[in-house]
C-alpha cells in the first residue's frame, strides 16, 4: 500500500510542478526574434571569435539588428553567408574562399635543430628560448599553438610542422594570430602553387639551417612565363592574380620549397 502511495505522491508532485512550469513558461515567455535562431544555424558555430564578437550567439544578434554584415563570419562559408543574406533580405556576397597555409617546409631531418626542446608544449614559450628549437628563425616551431587555437580541428602536426586540413579549414584566422613566428597565412583557396618558406637570410645562411629553405636564387622567376614571381626580402613571392597555377616554377625550384599542391595530391593518389 505504501509503495502505491509513494508512487502516486511523487507522480502527483511531478505533474503539479510540470503544470506550474508550463504555466510559468507561457507567462514568462520572452519574445525573441526567430531570425536570430535561423541566422545562428548558418554560422560557423565554433565560437571562434574571428568576427570580433563574444560568440556565435552575439554575432547572430547583431546581424539581425542590422549592425553587421553576414560576410563578417568567414567560417560560415559561401553557402551560409548567402543563406543569412536571404533570411535578412539583404544583398551580401561571400569574400573569396581562403585557406590557412603553413609557409614552412622544415620537417624533421630537413630543418636543422638548434637544441632538443623538452619543455612546456607551446611554440610561444619555445620561441623565446635561445631563438627556438630549430635553427631557422622563420620556421614553424611545431609545438602546436595553432592546433590548440583551431576551433575546427583542422590542424595537425606532421613531422614537426603544422599541417592544415583543407576540407576542415574555415579560414577564421585564429591560427594566423596564434603563431608566434607568423608562419601561417590566409591565401586564396584556389592558389595551389605556394612558396613554403619565408627565410629572409642570404642563400648561404638559409641553406645552412634548412635543406628546404628558399635561397632566393630567382630560378622560378626566370621560369615563370607570366611574370607572377618576384624575389623580395630574399625569398620568392607569387602574385596570385598573375599566377595561372601552371606549376612550372615548382618543377625547377632547386630547394623544393615551391609546392604544387595539385601535383602533390595527384602524386599521392598514384602512390596509393
Amino acid at each position: 500500500m505504501t509503495i502505491l502511495y509513494a508512487g502516486v505522491v511523487l507522480g502527483a508532485l511531478g505533474v503539479l510542478f510540470g503544470l506550474v512550469l508550463t504555466y510559468a513558461g507561457k507567462k514568462f515567455h520572452v519574445e525573441v526574434d526567430e531570425r536570430i535562431e535561423l541566422v545562428k544555424n548558418c554560422l560557423g558555430g565554433a565560437n571562434c571569435g574571428a568576427c570580433g564578437y563574444a560568440g556565435c550567439d552575439q554575432f547572430a544578434k547583431v546581424v539581425v539588428e542590422g549592425k553587421e554584415k553576414p560576410s563578417k563570419c568567414v567560417p560560415a562559408g559561401e553557402k551560409g553567408i548567402k543563406e543569412m543574406a536571404k533570411i535578412m533580405g539583404i544583398e551580401d556576397t561571400a569574400p573569396e574562399k581562403m585557406i590557412a597555409r603553413v609557409l614552412c617546409g622544415g620537417i624533421h631531418g630537413i630543418a636543422k635543430e638548434r637544441y632538443h626542446y623538452d619543455g612546456y608544449k607551446s611554440c610561444a614559450v619555445a620561441a623565446g628560448i635561445a631563438g627556438g628549437p630549430k635553427e631557422c628563425m622563420y620556421s614553424c616551431i611545431g609545438l602546436g599553438d595553432c592546433m590548440d587555437h583551431c576551433a575546427f580541428n583542422a590542424i595537425s602536426m606532421v613531422d614537426g610542422v603544422a599541417h592544415v586540413d583543407e576540407d576542415k579549414c574555415r579560414a577564421c584566422g585564429t591560427c594566423v594570430a596564434a603563431c608566434p613566428r607568423g608562419a601561417i597565412q590566409l591565401l586564396p583557396a584556389s592558389q595551389s602553387v605556394i612558396v613554403t618558406c619565408r627565410n629572409k637570410d642570404v642563400a648561404k645562411f638559409a641553406r645552412a639551417v634548412c635543406m628546404n629553405a628558399c635561397i632566393g636564387c630567382g630560378r622560378c622567376k626566370k621560369e615563370c612565363a607570366y611574370g607572377a614571381i618576384e624575389v623580395i626580402d630574399g625569398y620568392a613571392h607569387i602574385d596570385p592574380v598573375k599566377c595561372t597555377r601552371c606549376g612550372a616554377c615548382a618543377e625547377v625550384c632547386p630547394c623544393k620549397c615551391i609546392v604544387d599542391l595539385i601535383k602533390q595530391s595527384v602524386g599521392a593518389m598514384e602512390r596509393v
Binding site: T2, Y5, A6, V9, L10, L13, G14, F17, V20, L21, A24, G25, K27, F28, H29, V30
Partner: protein, 194 residues
Amino acid sequence: MNGIVNVLLFMVSCVFTNNFIFSKFLGCCPFLGVSNKVETAASMGLAVTFVMTIASLFSYMVYHWILVPLGLTFMETIAFILVIAALVQFVEMFLKKASPSLYGALGIYLPLITTNCAVLGVATLNVSEGYNLFYSVLNGAFSAIGFLVAIVLMAGVRERLEGSKIPECMKGFPISLVTAGLMAMAFMGFSGLV
C-alpha cells in the same frame, strides 16, 4: 528579547560556526570550480543564496504538509530533488523575464545549482534538526550567506595566488586545496563562539 537574541545567534552560527563549506564540507564543487574571480564567485554565491532560501521554504512545506501526513518520510531525498530541480527551472524563467541583466550575470550558474549538494543538504538538515518553518528558512538563507562569504574569500585569495610565485608542483588545484584547508582551520576558531 530572548527570542531576538536567539535568532541573532542562530544567524551567526549559520554563517560562521556551521559554515557549509568549512565545517560541513557541502558544496565543495562550485567552491573550487567557480572561485577564480571575485565577480563570478559573488554571482554564484548570490544565486545559491536565492535558491537555498526558497528551497528551504518549499522543501519544508512538501515534507511537513505532504510527506509526514502520508507517512512517506523515507522519500524525502527524492522529493527534495524534485522540488529543487523544479524551483531552479522556475527561478531561471522568472529571472529571464523580470531581470535580463541579472539573468545574464548568473548565466550558467543557475542550472548548475540544481546539482549543488549544499541546496539538498540544507533541505535534509532542516528536517533532521527538526527546525520549524521560520528557522528552516532562516537556516537556508544564512547558511547560503555563509557559502557566499566562503566562496568570495576563496576567490580573493586565489586572485592573489595568480600573481605570486608558487612551486611548479603546487600550481593550480594543489595550492587551492591547501588554501581551502587552511581556511577551514581558521573557521574552526569560530566554533566556540555560539
